[in-house]
């Protein structure tokens, strides 16, 4: 994965840039010592690292605006950063950039239960948004698996999803408004506490724009009342395709579970060894969770289990207690960590039409043999959001490249069956060069034209999302 060579002129002016930033920001806001900026050299796509020129950690919207104004005037690229949990390299710096971290913007601004929203600063972590409202039995629905650490700013940048978005939607469906700072330091609100846009849906455009259009400093989020209860059921099958067919039948039956999770044999065995959840010995495992009162849960699970029985399951296991429910989820929640224990891995998140699930799983198996790399599959089956985990050895020369090559094959396959490159992680640098497989030059041109409107000098996170050769003329024109 290439990054553009750093601008030597910017590098040569580091002292001047730092001094200008220090002159408009409070003490301890600008981090520039070589040993300290190293903390910002990568995000969760840790195979790629590059210390930034410096980092700023503003504590207010006005400070964000002040920092951006300086960078805008001096022509310095800015890479916004939430908590640095991006799996796609969304917060990966270049040597000539200023990292703008929003971690100090972590307050709750307003909570309104009657109108069902919370306004938070964007550096607040996903889970602590729910934490702020759960005493009143409310929650914030999008639940990316990094929710303990990831920031709302990053959730908005990548339009993050999670296991429960089959019912509740992803970030964009739960976002009512933002306060955003444009690259030239302009501050504006988009949306608010009402539901619809007054004109063009700029809020919908901002969500998922990977920090390329502006820096979100505050977000108004929809909060929901917690359901009375939730209960998972575990279903084991001896065939991936049968499990896939079972998913389609459940969806067609008119029950809408909050989550349908899928694990294949490698993930089942690995997480079983790691977490001892007591999973059965099988090829494919589904975890289906429904919500409601105890009797409503019983009724929905009865429908789901009767469908599952028609698909000759190896085992059906209904949670009879909170402890059993936790054990059903334990293996699924440990899956990434478990694979990480046995190998380095790359996690993809291409999405496919649910009907293509069996074919795509079969093809991934074939690719795994061809490339000689093991692949575990664990994913949100209800919405076709796959998560192939390709295992490789970071210490073996060429293995990462081989893994990336195989990953590209899988993602192209996702696009070819009618899906997309990324369902919830974002493009970042990881899928940047594959964009031409999903989009025509015209499709990409109009997206870049949108960036021209918000950031004419292409200073905000410029080396992401679009293939470098496609965005090159714009990035160079800006220099």
């Amino acid at each position: 994965m290439d990054m553009p060579p750093p601008d030597q002129f910017i590098l040569s002016r580091k002292a001047e840039i730092v001094a200008r930033l220090q002159s408009v920001l409070p003490k301890n806001t600008v981090i520039h010592a070589e040993s300290e900026v190293r903390a910002y050299e990568c995000d969760a796509l840790s195979a790629y690292r590059c210390p930034p020129l410096c980092a700023v950690l503003p504590a207010s919207t006005e400070e964000v605006a002040a920092a951006l104004r300086v960078c805008h005037e001096m022509g310095v690229p800015v890479v916004p950063r939430g908590s640095g949990t991006s799996l796609a390299g969304g917060a990966l710096p270049t040597a000539d950039c200023v990292i703008l971290g929003v971690a100090r913007l972590n307050n709750v601004v307003e909570t309104n239960y009657g109108d069902r929203y919370i306004r938070v600063q964007s550096g607040r972590t996903n889970l602590s948004v729910t934490g702020a409202v759960e005493a009143e039995d409310f929650f914030y629905a999008p639940d990316p698996s990094s929710q303990l650490a990831c920031a709302i700013a990053g959730n908005i940048a990548m339009n993050s999803g999670g296991a429960h978005c089959l019912k509740y939607g992803v970030t964009t469906n739960n976002l009512l408004g933002v306060k955003i700072v444009l690259m030239d330091g302009t501050i504006t609100d988009i949306g608010g506490t009402h539901l619809d846009a007054a004109g063009l849906d700029l809020l919908g455009l901002i969500c998922g724009s990977e920090g390329q259009l502006g820096v979100v400093t505050e977000a108004t989020l929809r909060i929901l009342r917690k359901p009375e209860g939730a209960r998972p059921v575990l279903m084991a099958f001896n065939d991936n395709e049968v499990a896939g067919a079972c998913v389609a039948d459940i969806i067609k039956a008119g029950v809408l579970p909050v989550a349908i999770e899928f694990m294949d044999r490698l993930c089942i065995e690995t997480s079983e060894n790691y977490a001892q959840a007591g999973y059965p010995d099988c090829e494919a495992l589904l975890i289906v969770e429904v919500e409601g009162s105890p009797s409503e849960i019983d009724e929905q699970l009865a429908v789901i289990l009767s469908i599952a029985r028609k698909h000759s399951p190896v085992e059906l296991r209904e949670a009879k207690s909170a402890e059993e429910a936790a054990r059903i989820w334990l293996g699924r929640k440990s899956a990434f960590g478990a694979i990480g224990q046995i190998s380095d891995y790359m996690c993809l998140d291409g999405t496919i039409p649910v009907s293509s699930l069996p074919m795509v799983l079969r093809r991934i198996g074939e690719l795994s043999k061809e490339y000689g790399l093991r692949v575990g599959n664990v994913f949100h089956a209800g919405d076709g959001n796959m998560h192939p985990l390709i295992c490789y050895d970071a210490n073996k020369p060429g293995d990462l490249e081989l893994c990336e090559e195989m990953g590209a094959e899988i993602l192209k396959l996702c696009v070819d069956v009618g899906g997309c490159l990324t369902g919830e992680h974002g493009v970042g640098i990881e899928k940047r060069d594959l964009m031409v497989h999903q989009f025509s030059p015209q499709d990409l041109e109009i997206q870049m034209a949108v960036k021209d409107v918000f950031d004419p000098s292409w200073l905000l996170n410029p080396a992401k999302v679009f293939p470098l050769n496609v965005s090159q003329s714009r990035r160079h024109a800006a220099e």
Binding site: D189, T193, D201, G384
Partner: protein
């Protein structure tokens, strides 16, 4: 102009010199009046793909809503955002199209629970003002690949591009539905009751006030019965209640709310006002004299019937926004249909329009 294919649509846009007035079925004459040659998309018709097991439908933009709904009905599915049929309120004839639904982000009462059309829109194909065909999004439910122009196109009223194909998420129809009516509440009491219902765990899918305060529950029969009972307990202090348990009678109530049927035959202008629910009662009080209102979305949507030519936006004072939906020619010429936004957002929107439609030929001026 009445292109039969996407290629003919490209030719029509590329070949035109003057402005175009873009319509689907022509049932939603909303926005500032547009002068231009009519470009009608209704011949771009047909369902391209429907996968009930994947909860997705892909259709050409001119496909009639009747055809979409009939196809979904066979599989006991629906467009869950409950698209508004504007014919009732606007007195228009013609056949509503799925492209028109998307272009106007037409969403009904269930929007409060499941989101608007834009939340169910998975992908679009459109031809921009330069005659370039563009696709964005796709047909899968989770997709963060590139910028989300899908949301941008929803509710852009044909000013950024002419839709040629749309893909949407569909959902199963519930087994049954019922409506709880609370009689005789003030607007303030009504919003309070609706907020309690929406803030309960009982999955309310409609929360409106016409004469009565109305709360809808949908799902399996036993579940609907249980949740109705719980809501009656929760809201017992508010006043007399009745329950409509016949599913078709219940649905008829919500079709009327969604389509604003009560204002259809009354004279005056019709405004659609989007606000924070708890602000609604105060805003209603500040409306021009002679205004009649109803609320949907728990108070978050006010429908106001105002004396002709009056502007209710004076009542808003920066809280939310109002759109003029129906008025005579004189009022439409005098008042901007869409509420002007702050100068920063106006400049951004204008910048986007210039990129998508540099010649300014697609429904020019419709949104301001």
């Amino acid at each position: 102009m009445n292109p039969q294919t996407e290629l003919e649509l490209v030719d029509a846009i590329t070949g035109t010199k003057g402005p175009l007035r873009i319509i689907g079925g022509g049932t939603r004459d909303i926005g500032n009046p547009v002068v231009g040659e009519t470009l009608c998309t209704s011949s771009l018709s047909g369902i391209a793909l429907y996968e009930p097991g994947a909860l997705t439908i892909v259709a050409k933009a001119g496909t009639s809503m009747n055809e979409i709904e009939a196809a979904l009905d066979v599989e006991n599915q629906r467009l869950a955002f409950e698209p508004m049929d504007h014919r009732t309120l606007l007195g228009t004839n013609g056949t509503p199209t799925i492209g028109g639904v998307v272009a106007t982000n037409a969403s009904g009462s269930r929007r409060i629970a499941v989101g608007a059309c834009r939340d169910h829109l998975l992908g679009v194909r459109f031809v921009d003002g330069t005659g370039t065909t563009i696709k964005n999004g796709g047909r899968v439910m989770k997709n963060v690949t590139g910028y989300d122009l899908v949301k941008l196109l929803a509710g852009s009223y044909g000013t950024l591009g002419v839709l040629s194909e749309v893909s949407l998420k569909v959902l199963p129809k519930p087994e049954t539905s019922a409506t709880l009516k609370i009689h005789g509440l003030t607007d303030t009491q009504s919003v309070y009751a609706l907020s309690m219902a929406l803030g309960s765990p009982f999955e309310v899918t409609g929360a409106a006030r016409s004469d009565d305060t109305l709360i809808r529950i949908e799902g399996f029969a036993t579940s609907v019965a249980y949740r109705l009972a719980q809501l009656k307990l929760l809201l017992a202090g508010f006043g007399d209640m009745t329950v409509v348990t016949d599913p078709s009678a219940s649905q008829a109530i919500w079709t009327d709310i969604t389509n604003v049927a009560t204002f259809a035959t009354r004279a005056g202008d019709i405004w659609r006002i989007s606000v924070k629910p708890s602000d609604a009662p105060t805003i209603i009080t500040a409306m021009p004299a002679g205004t009649k209102t109803m609320m949907d979305w728990g108070g978050g949507l006010i429908w106001a019937q105002t004396p002709a030519g009056t502007d209710p936006r004076i009542a808003l004072s920066a809280k939310g926004h109002a759109t003029l939906i129906r008025a005579d020619a004189k009022t439409r010429a005098a008042l901007p249909a869409f509420q002007p936004e702050n100068p920063i957002l106006t400049a951004l929107s204008q910048g986007i329009r210039t990129r998508f439609d540099p010649r300014g030929i697609l429904n020019p001026g419709l949104m301001g």
